[in-house]
């Protein structure tokens, strides 16, 4: 298109100036609150034309149409959802009339206000359809380009961009809105959005709204190293402030423009203004950057993947990237069962574990007979888009499965894989190009496995030539070196390594291997795999599909990375092995007594050691009762003290209490023979209507630890049940808990009923909303927390 060429030529020479805020300018000119701006502009065409003209005169080379909310969902609020095409068409024409042919008109597409599948209720295809409806009006209205702006959801930005791309090859800019923490509200960082959107075909990517120019410099700096397209910045006039009940943007035009130089230095190629900016801001900005030379994108292509919440740049000299292989039902009965039942719990768990174990991306294979593979891959992609930051590699032999994943995945994914087979090349390469995916190039063709490196090189070269026709570069794929079993061919390992070596040093591309095939059918498989991994690393292997939980694998990987001097690998090697538990070597003679060890176990909450330590103490001749009274109780009292002083926090208190409980349970059979009677009996309940019981459970655990007999009636217990239990059990204290104001009042009713039944037992109450005053008013004792509850019970019983 002529306009697209014109824009690209302009961007090579200068920084392009975009317009400023429209909404606030319309308000100044009479737009009332609560009306639809788009419809109001159609009723008052001269006003919007004046705003456009003011920005053109101020120096804007690209003016946005006033169609930010002209999609079917926003217009529905005003009952005109049927007029999307017409509203967009007319407003695009008004912009043209106002600005003439010299100024470029950008058809403005804003968010629908809804979240898109897999993050929200709006079906992805429905969103694409809605954006197409709007884009058609804008294109037919004569727009030179489209701008998709103020997006907070990467999936909505993708839906809009795909919609435009499926209609036309019109120049398209996409700009996201980032919060102070450098992420969209959906959790997407700028680099991730950039990688996703530029690979999907956006001609320019950037940011607008939410931040002032100073902070936007940081966002541009974050994106620039990864950008293959020009970047745009359209900041607000500073941050909004409340003044006399009105939101104001205080940054004046001069100050705003003063950031133009730094924004362009950071790498912005298009600059404009968002909320709070005026034609004055744009005029000042235009002047400030008129002589600035634009910084072109630093690269033409990038080996990088992205998810909705993270990204991965694949560099040759980085430590080996692990592609987590576990999400694959082959040989995993529980996963097969879950997939058949449509459940995804194991997949979620596998994803999170592999991420924690150091995987850089997740291979996802859901191939299994008897399931709807398309729906399943959509569900899995939806789940993993939220549950993991790692980008995905979709591993399937079915083209439709890969296509379904490509369309829905809110990031740039890796296709596993595209071979030289005719169908794969003819169908998958166009799909990879359309969705901007990277792919694993599998050197297979004609239904045969090429045995030699030489044959593989020829196939790799052939597939690459075909991929080039779709615009792919060597940054866009990784070559699978093809691991074959040495059990069936003694040269298999050598040929694979030769392929890796050729890719790295001659063909100059990145590589991947599924390592474990090499040892298939052989004994000592871990050793073969480990040796093969180390050799492949030496040959320059970039990625390996493996289980990151394998200790042998990760140990060799770290060592191989260090020996091949990969970036920061030595440090990672040291850290990796420093964190591993040192082998048990005979140390100095242990000086602690058995009793001291028991004390330490309780203080440190070593639940797993307490039984052994108590046995050790009993063997020295100490009686169980002595251990409880002289060692364990004082220890738990000390824990309570540390908690009260805030030296311990709640998990430490609980760990100590559980250790104590386990120890007491172990000693219990011995105590029955020797111990004194119980210290007292406490009846506990969360009152009627209340279901919050964690506080009561803590109190119960602590009281048991101190030797009290606790009868726990549970939660939401009726007044009558509490009173009946009190009559039967004759406790020394009745403890009641409640969390809410509405249930707190039931405590009084329980006490009243108890007194009416002649029960004069002391009550102890507690809970989030309960205060000491309230307790006093209903004739009860009060405790702030579990530790205090123990002290209050002690006092009450002593008093008796």
């Amino acid at each position: 298109m002529i306009a697209a060429t014109k824009i690209k030529n302009l961007l090579a020479k200068k920084i392009l100036i975009l317009d400023g805020a429209t909404g606030t300018e319309l308000q100044k000119r009479g737009l009332p609150a609560g009306v639809c701006p788009e419809l109001w502009c159609l009723d008052n065409p001269q006003v919007i034309k004046d705003v456009h003209a003011a920005y053109r005169k101020a120096g804007a080379q690209i003016v946005y149409t006033c169609t930010f909310g002209a999609n079917r969902y926003k217009l529905k609020q005003y009952g005109v959802q049927e007029e999307v095409y017409s509203v967009n068409l007319q407003l695009a024409r008004l912009a043209r009339e106002a600005c003439g042919r010299e100024t470029l008109i950008a058809g403005d597409i804003g968010p629908t206000g809804l979240f898109i599948e897999p993050f929200g209720p709006l079906a992805f295809e429905e969103a694409v359809d809605a954006f197409k409806e709007q884009a058609r009006g804008l294109i037919d209205g004569g727009c030179d380009l489209i701008v998709i702006e103020t997006m907070i959801d990467i999936q909505e930005a993708r839906a809009a961009l795909l919609a435009v791309r499926e209609l036309s090859d019109i120049f398209t800019m996409v700009s996201m809105t980032y919060e102070k923490d450098g992420h969209t509200l959906g959790g997407t960082p700028p680099q991730s959005a950039l990688i996703t959107l530029q690979s999907l075909g956006a001609n320019t990517v950037g940011c607008n709204c939410s931040a002032g120019p100073e902070q936007m410099i940081d966002f541009i700096k974050m994106m620039k190293p990864y950008a293959t397209v020009p970047l745009l910045a359209k900041p607000n006039a500073g941050m909004p402030k409340l003044k006399d009940g009105v939101t104001v943007f205080e940054m004046d035009a001069k100050t705003f423009a003063s950031f133009g130089s730094d924004l362009s230095k950071a790498g912005a190629n298009l600059l404009g203004g968002c909320c709070g900016t005026t034609p004055e801001h744009i005029r000042a900005l235009s002047r400030a950057v008129s002589r600035k030379k634009p910084t072109s994108p630093v690269r033409k292509s990038i080996s990088a993947l992205s998810s909705a919440r993270g990204f991965l740049e694949i560099n040759e000299n980085s430590p080996l990237y692990i592609v987590g292989e576990r999400i694959n039902p082959t040989g995993k009965k529980s996963l097969q069962q879950e997939l058949t039942e449509g459940k995804l719990n194991i997949i979620r768990q596998m994803a999170q574990e592999q991420e924690a174990q150091g995987a850089a991306l997740l291979d996802v294979n859901i191939g299994q007979p008897g399931i709807d593979e398309i729906q399943t891959i959509k569900n899995v992609v939806g789940l993993l888009s939220s549950a993991s930051r790692l980008p995905l590699a979709i591993d399937s032999s079915r083209i439709e499965t890969i296509e379904a994943a490509l369309r829905l995945y809110p990031g740039r994914m890796l296709i596993n894989s595209i071979s030289g087979e005719k169908e794969k090349v003819s169908k998958l390469l166009p799909l990879a190009a359309k969705y901007g995916a990277m792919f694993i190039l599998l050197p297979l063709t004609g239904g045969e496995l090429p045995k030699t490196a030489k044959k593989r090189q020829t196939i790799i070269d052939n597939i690459f030539r075909k991929a080039q026709k779709f615009g792919f570069t060597k940054d866009d794929f990784v070559v699978d070196g093809l691991t074959m079993a040495v059990a069936s061919d003694a040269h298999a390992g050598r040929e694979t390594l030769a392929t890796i070596n050729w890719c790295k040093n001659t063909f100059k591309c990145k590589t991947i291997l599924g390592l474990s095939n090499v040892s298939f059918g052989m004994p000592g498989r871990p050793w073969l795999n480990a040796a093969f991994l180390a050799m492949a690393q030496y040959c320059g292997l970039t990625m390996a599909i493996a289980n990151p939980a394998s200790v042998e694998f990760t140990n060799v990987q770290k060592a191989g990375d260090a020996l091949t001097a990969r970036e920061k690998a030595s440090l990672q090697f040291i850290n990796h092995f420093s964190q591993q538990t040192a082998p048990q070597t005979p140390g100095p003679v242990e000086k602690s007594s058995p009793e001291e060890k028991v004390v330490k176990a309780i203080l440190d909450g070593e639940k797993e050691n307490i039984v052994v330590l108590l046995e050790e103490a009993l063997r020295t001749g100490r009686q169980a009762a002595e251990l409880v009274d002289e060692v364990m109780i004082p220890s738990i009292v000390r824990v309570g003290d540390l908690y009260e002083k805030k030296i311990y926090f709640l998990p430490q208190l609980m760990a100590a209490a559980e250790t104590m409980k386990k120890g007491l349970a172990h000693l219990d059979p011995l105590l029955k023979k020797t111990a004194q009677a119980d210290k007292g009996k406490v009846l506990l309940a969360t009152v009627r209507g209340d279901i919050h019981d964690i506080g009561k459970n803590i109190v119960a655990l602590l009281l048991k630890n101190y030797g009290y007999c606790v009868i726990d009636l549970g939660k939401d217990v009726s007044d009558q049940v509490i009173v009946s239990a009190a009559r039967k059990e004759k406790p020394d204290v009745i403890g009641l808990s409640a969390l809410m104001t509405t249930t707190m009042v039931n405590m009084k009713e329980v006490i009243t009923l108890a007194r009416e039944n002649g029960i004069n037992t002391d009550f102890l109450i507690g809970g989030a909303v309960v205060t000491e005053d309230f307790a006093r008013s209903i004739g009860a004792n009060f405790a702030r927390d579990g530790v205090e509850a123990v002290k209050v019970v002690e006092k009450i019983i002593k008093r008796h």
Binding site: L185, D690, I691, H692, I694, L739, T742
Partner: protein, 205 residues
């Protein structure tokens, strides 16, 4: 203007510092070992994987605020002097709700049943803070949309059961927000189930 916006998945990680604070951690005072910290962090991570944050919001006009009672479009009326004062400069309100889902509550019950209260209290604190964080997220989301109108939300929010804004109002907000669409129920004591569910109200300037 009066249609509820539903957020099926609120993308938020666990706010670690707030969770630690809720658990009683005090900077420069509380002493925990590297192992205890690692274990606590692992429990927070486990809990967050069980939490499915969902929420909803509804924008309504204030028709009257006489200092004691606030009347809101849709025939809603809230009686509370404190809330009236809180909303005194606002012409509109946002009602909002959020839930962490039932899986985390089942996990808390399960851990309690297995006598693992250490895990239960960390799960509980994580769910509480994440649910609260979901309301924060909804406010940020609403502010994005309001900025275009030259408006903003009050920086804080008000919940039923706080000060003189009776907990009974939770039922009104619950029904108006259609929280049952996300499986949230309310019992006769006006407690939301699953327990880690919250509602709030704030004003638009």
């Amino acid at each position: 203007m009066e249609s509820t916006v539903f957020f099926e998945k609120i993308p938020m990680g666990p706010p670690r510092d707030k969770i630690y604070h809720r658990l009683g951690y005090k900077k420069l005072t509380t002493e925990i070992s590297a192992l205890q910290q690692k274990e606590t962090d692992a429990l927070i991570h486990e809990a967050s994987s069980l939490i499915a944050l969902q929420g909803m919001s509804l924008r309504l006009k204030i028709s009257q605020n006489d200092g004691e009672t606030i009347s809101v479009s849709g025939n809603l009326m809230f009686r509370s002097k404190k809330l009236s004062a809180f909303l005194r400069n606002c012409r509109e309100v946002i009602l909002m709700g959020a839930t962490s889902g039932s899986a985390i509550m089942e996990a808390i019950r399960d851990k309690t049943g297995r006598n693992d209260l250490t895990a239960a209290v960390v799960y509980d604190a994580t769910a509480s803070e994440m649910t609260d964080g979901a309301l924060e997220w909804i406010m940020q989301y609403m502010n994005q949309a309001l900025r275009r109108e030259g408006k903003t939300l009050l920086p804080r929010r008000f919940s039923a059961g706080y000060a003189d804004f009776a907990l009974e109002n939770q039922k009104i907000i619950y029904e108006k927000l259609q929280m049952d669409k996300f499986g949230v129920q309310i019992n006769p004591s006006y407690i939301l189930i699953p327990e880690k569910s919250v509602t709030a109200i704030t004003g638009i300037y």
